[in-house]
């Protein structure tokens, strides 16, 4: 357990967001059965979300006691959500959205190529080779060893 003197960029906002989330969840938990009894389905969710409210309040107070991170939004973008992470999250999002349409193999192949090229920055031919090898390995392991049903795409009549 370390005690820091300075906040991380965006830590205060995150603490506030957690408190808001906890309060909202507590409200939802209350809606389940209210205070109508001690062994109703809503009691335990209320206890858990109540704990979340209390602990997120403590986290917020502790964050307030620390000195500000400084650097503002720019520092947040550099430390917490740098370009690399943001691009990767977007790529994963696109990959997931494309999967039902393109099918698992085509979507994964594209995702592998684009993300490895983005992270590794070598010659595209090498990246293509690596992605193909990775894809082949995944395909063989899943369909032969684990016998997992992989999502097929609607494009090209589920050929892939």
């Amino acid at each position: 357990m370390s005690s820091r003197a300075q906040r991380r960029p965006g830590e205060l906002a995150f603490a506030v967001a957690l408190l808001a989330l906890s309060l909202w969840l507590f409200g939802e938990a209350f809606k389940i059965s209210g205070f109508s009894g001690l062994s109703t389905p809503g009691v335990f969710p209320m206890l858990a979300s109540g704990l979340m409210v209390a602990s997120s309040l403590a986290i917020l107070l502790k964050a307030l006691a620390m000195s500000p991170a400084g650097g503002g939004l720019r520092q947040f973008l550099a430390d917490i959500t740098p370009l690399r992470q943001t691009v990767m999250v977007v790529l994963v999002g696109l990959y997931i959205l494309a999967m039902p349409w393109l099918g698992f193999l085509a979507a994964s192949g594209l995702f592998l190529f684009v993300s490895i090229q983005f992270l590794w920055r070598r010659s595209p031919w090498l990246t293509a080779l690596v992605s193909l090898a990775g894809l082949a390995a995944i395909h063989v392991i899943f369909t032969l060893v684990f016998q997992v049903v992989l999502p097929k795409g609607t494009l090209l009549q589920g050929l892939y």
């Binding site: 357990m1 370390s2 991380r8 830590e11 995150f14 957690l18 906890s22 969840l25 939802e28 938990a29 389940i32 059965s33 009894g37 001690l38 062994s39 389905p41 809503g42 009691v43 335990f44 969710p45 858990a48 979300s49 704990l51 979340m52 209390a54 602990s55 997120s56 403590a58 986290i59 502790k62 917490i80 740098p82 690399r84 992470q85 990767m88 999250v89 994963v92 999002g93 990959y95 997931i96 999967m99 039902p100 698992f104 994964s108 995702f111 592998l112 993300s115 490895i116 992270l119 590794w120 690596v130 990775g134 995944i138 899943f142 684990f146 016998q147 997992v148 049903v149 992989l150 999502p151």
Partner: protein
């Protein structure tokens, strides 16, 4: 007795299971060794792939990965000063200085032998104590299970992460995630927002993959360009004199490891650190000072973290309460296969228990074989760039999430948990308590309500029940002691005590 031996030997005699255990152990060593891939991550992804297999096949593979993975972290800790897993943090303290002196091979060899030794101590403890504990656990009531689960989450929350409040938050969040869906007692919807998707609940394997796989992958993006250090490896088989010499240290560390592993919620990482600390204190005149390549400092954490594997299975198989994050994931696998871990597991499905014991022992033997061979090929694979590894992890996670129910929605959950888990990790939260909460939440809920109904919904009777039954009372005291030690009150008491001790020293 004879029957138990029969079950014990299942995986030793069946070539297919033998192969699966071997493959699991080998894969586990690599997974553990590659920084950024954790055993928890591997096991959670594996569960989603193996749930269509027979229980024995799945468990054989998972036991191998678990045993191999806990050990594998030591490799990179010694060779590169990068612990491949949290349980190898203490190993790096003395292992890396040894490698720098050119004794990398010796360090790896000694680590392997002592890990296997610790592993066997843990398995023996599992075989001996689990049946006793299970008999005892038959006396446990729903109150006691509620308390045990709360102690488990609290332990994980306090021992890892930055602050107590963050640990509690993570645990409670996990409990809430576990509550989503139809209430098993009244079939009322909880947090379903009248959508059909949420009525079935959030699959916990998806939460695990999100928090341990995807979130970790995003965090790893921060350290994409760590340079790989190459080490020369010479002698791998350790000297017999060394093994004999450090036997006592290993024995002590294995004892610590087994006990820490068996405590609900604490696993190999904490066991290793405590054993290292203990060895440091117990060794009066080390040949080389600790931190500069003392072999005691290498042997103790490695024996302890492998002993913790067997230990962690004890509460999981006897009480249904996972001993650490990996067993929390494995418990999920048992649920998927329709098994109910708890005191009745040994009565209803003794074959499963003895099969697990035999399997863990077998995995340790494979560990010895793989650990002492193929080190050169090994270093090549670990040098695989993260830029290739991370996209592959994400694809594995996506397939794993999809495979559980063939439902694309689960992949969206995975990404959501991954992004949320990333922020939690960045701001100093641990995701271990979340997963423990997801697994234990529904169990705590039903046990709480059973206890409350047993007390006829009267709060006074409810509280009196906790105080008047010896088992509940002891557990309650343990829980409260743990709680108070973490709150400002406990801190004040500790400070006062420390102040008095310092004063006493000053006077003397």
């Amino acid at each position: 007795m004879l029957e138990s031996f029969g079950y014990l030997a299942i995986s030793w005699l069946d070539p297919w299971l033998l192969m699966l255990t071997a493959a699991g152990t080998l894969a586990g060593i690599y997974v553990g060794a590659i920084p950024g891939l954790s055993v928890t991550m591997a096991v959670s992804i594996l569960i989603s792939f193996t749930f269509k297999w027979s229980v024995n096949d799945a468990l054989a593979l998972i036991a191998g990965v678990f045993v191999g993975g806990v050990y594998g972290g030591s490799r990179t800790a010694i060779l590169l000063n990068i612990p491949g897993a949290p349980s190898a943090i203490a190993t790096a303290l003395d292992g890396y200085p040894m490698a720098k002196r050119g004794e990398a091979g010796e360090a790896v060899g000694l680590t392997t032998v002592m890990s296997v030794f610790g592993g066997f101590v843990g398995v023996a403890a599992l075989a001996l104590f689990a049946p006793l504990l299970a008999d005892f656990a038959l006396m446990f009531t729903s109150r006691d299970y509620l308390l045990l689960a709360m102690i488990g989450i609290l332990l994980v929350g306090t021992l890892s992460g930055e602050s107590f409040a963050k640990g509690v938050f993570a645990g409670a969040l996990g409990v809430l995630i576990g509550m989503v869906g139809l209430d098993p007692m009244t079939a009322e919807g909880r947090f379903t927002f009248d959508t059909i998707t949420l009525m079935g609940g959030i699959p916990y394997v998806v939460a695990m993959i999100g928090f341990f796989g995807v979130a970790e992958a995003f965090v790893q993006l921060h350290q994409l360009d760590l340079p790989a250090v190459k080490q020369k490896i010479d002698r791998v088989i350790p000297r017999l004199a060394d093994v004999r010499r450090y036997f006592r240290v290993a024995m002590r560390a294995s004892g610590i490891g087994t006990v820490i592993g068996a405590l609900p919620g604490t696993g190999g990482d904490i066991a290793a650190l405590l054993a290292y600390d203990d060895a440091k204190r117990a060794t009066k005149n080390p040949e080389v000072p600790f931190g500069e390549g003392a072999k005691e400092g290498l042997v103790a954490p490695e024996a302890a973290n492998n002993a913790a594997v067997g230990g962690a299975f004890v509460p999981m198989l006897t009480l249904g309460i996972p001993g650490d994050a990996v067993t929390a994931v494995i418990i999920g696998a048992l649920f998927i296969h329709g098994l109910k871990p708890g005191p009745l597991l040994l009565v209803e499905t003794p074959h499963l228990f003895w099969f697990t014991v035999g399997n863990l022992a077998l995995a340790n033997i494979f560990l010895l074989i793989f650990g002492l061979t193929g080190i050169r090929i090994f270093t090549k694979i670990v040098e695989c760039p993260k830029a290739i590894l991370i996209p592959l992890i994400i694809i594995l996670s996506a397939v794993g999430s999809y495979a559980i129910q063939n439902n694309p929605v689960d992949i969206y959950w995975m990404l959501l948990f991954g992004v949320f888990g990333y922020f939690l990790k960045v701001y100093g939260f641990q995701v271990g308590p979340v997963i423990l909460g997801v697994i234990l939440g529904p169990m705590m809920d039903s046990n709480y309500r059973r206890a409350m109904i047993g007390a006829r919904n009267d709060p006074a009777t409810f509280i009196w029940d906790f105080l008047s039954h010896p088992i509940s009372c002891v557990l309650l005291i343990a829980f409260l002691a743990l709680l108070i030690s973490q709150t400002p009150l406990g801190r004040l008491a500790r400070e006062a005590w420390r102040g008095r001790r310092a004063q006493g020293r000053g006077a003397g």
